[in-house]
């Protein structure tokens, strides 16, 4: 009866050897290529550090002005602008200004990175059903695997710091932009594409002249989601040495500082809401051609 109550699993020794082999293999790999990878990401680190320094060094009124301008350009809504300005004033008043600037820096860079990598992958995915079936499970894994699991190899490879944090954020935040770019392109009306074909448009002309412009509302929904997910990774990223609003949250967890955790948590929420409203309104405005007069 042992057979039924005890799962006939791998032998302990063999299992231990297997794990050891994997660990050893990866350790060798990271010793071999860790430095090369670090060098590869060097420009990214440099940019991130520069951007963070810039944000922290810029006088606060100027930052608030830029935020207000960005909110206005994106949303064209006075309410959104007022909300953004008030949020930043409150953040500064409660002593979270510098952490917020750090978080803003890493979120901006992460989002940019996700867009520049994610959109081409989305386009590739829309190109054929085969690439779609190949990429979809990878995206599923990236979205569902617990962040701590991929933090291990990332830290082993690159150590603790901003770049591994950035990569961890991107692994989690990139799937929506890839998915929605793919979806948006696939949803482009057949007629619009057929007309492009009939007039002799080549692949590039179809992609940049018809597919991407018509998919923009969906692509923007993807950008919006990517920003939201990047923000939700702020706390986890702080565990591997990313400065910002996540650090005090982490501290308040280990020390049971309710007020500290709440304030910094709310600051993250405020950032999320601002980004969300601005990018959503911007996405809506991209669709203004759809609001026609219905002639029936």
């Amino acid at each position: 009866m042992d057979f039924l109550t005890e799962f006939p699993g791998m032998e302990r020794q063999a299992l231990r050897d297997l794990k050891k082999a994997i660990d050893g293999g990866f350790r060798d790999f990271s010793r071999e290529f860790g430095e090369a990878l670090e060098n590869f990401f060097e420009p990214l680190l440099w940019f991130l550090v520069w951007f963070e320094k810039l944000l922290r060094a810029t006088p606060w009124p100027l930052i608030i002005l830029v935020i207000a301008l960005f909110a206005w350009l994106g949303s064209r809504s006075k309410a959104v602008v007022a909300g953004s300005v008030l949020s930043f004033l409150a953040i500064g008043y409660f002593g979270m200004w510098n952490d917020t600037m750090s978080t803003l820096a890493i979120i901006s860079v992460a989002t940019l990175l996700c867009i520049t990598v994610g959109i081409p992958f989305g386009v590739l995915m829309a190109r054929s059903d085969r690439t779609q079936t190949a990429i979809t499970p990878i995206l599923d894994i990236m979205q569902t695997i617990p962040a701590f699991v991929y933090l291990i190899p990332v830290v082993m490879l690159l150590g603790i710091g901003k770049v591994p944090g950035l990569i961890a954020v991107c692994i989690y935040a990139i799937p929506p932009i890839v998915r929605l770019t793919n979806l948006g392109i696939r949803l482009v009306e057949k007629e619009a594409l057929e007309a492009a074909d009939a007039f002799g448009a080549d692949y590039r002309q179809k992609l940049f002249g018809v597919q991407i412009p018509l998919a923009l509302p969906n692509i923007f929904a993807g950008v919006n989601q990517t920003i939201m997910m990047a923000l939700s990774m702020v706390v986890i990223a702080s565990m591997i040495g990313v400065a910002g609003l996540g650090v005090p949250v982490l501290r308040s967890i280990s020390n049971q500082y309710l007020a500290l955790g709440l304030m910094n948590g709310l600051a993250i929420v405020a950032l999320a809401i601002i980004f969300d409203r601005v990018s959503q309104r911007f996405g809506e405005r991209l669709q203004r051609h759809r609001k026609g007069i219905d002639h029936g």
């Binding site: 007629e191 619009a192 057929e194 007309a195 492009a196 074909d197 009939a198 007039f199 002799g200 448009a201 080549d202 002309q205 002249g209 018809v210 412009p213 018509l214 923009l216 051609h289 759809r290 609001k291 026609g292 007069i293 002639h295």
Partner: protein
């Protein structure tokens, strides 16, 4: 009539994953129904042979499911045939490389779609200039030329509107301007007016006829509407279940329908407004009576003859030379709706 702009030869189109392997059976006469049941493949087109004459409107008519939209998409190879040849100006479209095909589509042939196929994110002006932009025409020049065509189809002042702000008829005018702007010799029109209200449809037909009088394009026009086919077509091909069952000029089709299917189709049309004097006349000696131009429709011929108080009339060609004569009884017989058993009708010879 001997000139041919587009020649389609032995064209077959079978939809399904193993089209090539079932082709032989279809060529040996397997029916659409049988193909569907045995192999789960759909027969789109069966042994199509059509010659399109230049500078004329060739109408391909058929009901939905007859394969007419599939057929027209073969001309610019939006759909690849299973077998057959499509020759445009002596060049086989099917042997073109990707680059040649793109060039062919950019310069030689343009298309108007049933559901307009406009790009909703572009303005009317940008849509009209689309073909030119794809060709790589400098923007300024493209704008100027498309503006001219927009004006020609009656859309001046709407350049900066978006398609969704226009009515269906106006959207199709944009589609027409876009197709004309590239100066392609061949214009493929896939049920361009079917989505429009009857009044607007007639309007658009007038626009097209007016343009054609001036431009003399080679137009392949798809429709399911017989009145439209008769109004526009210099030649008509009738498609049923993926096969051409009759082609010829409209007069021929009305006077000599090839089978009962076509007979059913044409029996309700107003024959007096379609049949022309030359189709009914007896060639030869002139008689004592008024002169009728050879392309006068019978309705008007009747008025002339009855006003003249004679029972006969001469038919003259465009130069005024008498080519034949016509009796009042012949006109009346031709106008009368033929009996169901068409073979014995006296006008059918």
């Amino acid at each position: 009539m001997d000139e041919v702009k587009i020649r389609i030869e032995n064209l077959y189109k079978i939809f399904g994953p193993r089209a090539q392997s079932v082709l032989a059976q279809v060529q040996q006469g397997m029916s659409k129904q049988e193909l569907l049941e045995k192999h789960n493949h759909v027969l789109g087109l069966k042994d199509i042979n059509v010659a399109v004459t230049p500078r004329e409107i060739s109408v391909i008519m058929g009901l939905s499911g007859s394969g007419k939209s599939t057929l027209i998409r073969h001309v610019n190879r939006l759909i690849e045939p299973t077998s057959g040849r499509i020759v445009v100006d002596g060049q086989d479209v099917l042997t073109m490389t990707k680059e040649e095909l793109i060039d062919f589509r950019r310069h030689k042939v343009s298309m108007v779609f049933q559901r307009f196929g406009l790009h909703v994110h572009k303005t009317v002006a940008e849509n009209a200039a689309y073909g030119l932009a794809i060709q790589g025409t400098p923007i300024r020049q493209a704008k100027e030329r498309s503006r001219k065509w927009l004006e020609r189809v009656g859309l001046s002042g709407f350049e900066d509107h978006y398609p969704s702000q226009l009515s269906g008829g106006m959207q199709q005018r944009v589609g027409l301007a876009r197709a004309l702007a590239t100066d392609a010799e061949i214009l493929l029109m896939d049920e361009p007016f079917s989505a429009l209200d009857p009044l607007i449809r007639t309007d658009m037909q007038d626009v097209l006829l007016g343009l054609q009088e001036e431009l003399h394009k080679t137009i392949v026009f798809i429709t399911h509407d017989l009145d439209e086919a008769l109004r526009l077509g210099d030649r008509i091909a009738i498609l049923r279940d993926g096969a051409v069952i009759q082609q010829g000029d409209p007069q021929e089709i009305i006077l000599h329908p090839a089978d009962d299917y076509i007979f059913d189709f044409i029996k309700d049309i107003n024959r007096s407004r379609v049949i022309e004097a030359k189709s009914v006349m007896t060639p030869g000696a002139s008689v004592d009576g008024p002169e009728l131009p050879h392309d006068l429709v019978l309705e008007e011929a009747l008025q002339v003859v009855s006003a003249s108080k004679r029972k006969m009339a001469n038919v003259v060609d465009a130069d005024g030379t008498a080519v034949g004569s016509i009796e009042l009884q012949q006109i009346i017989d031709a106008v009368a709706r033929p009996a169901e058993d068409s073979d014995e009708d006296p006008t059918y010879r």
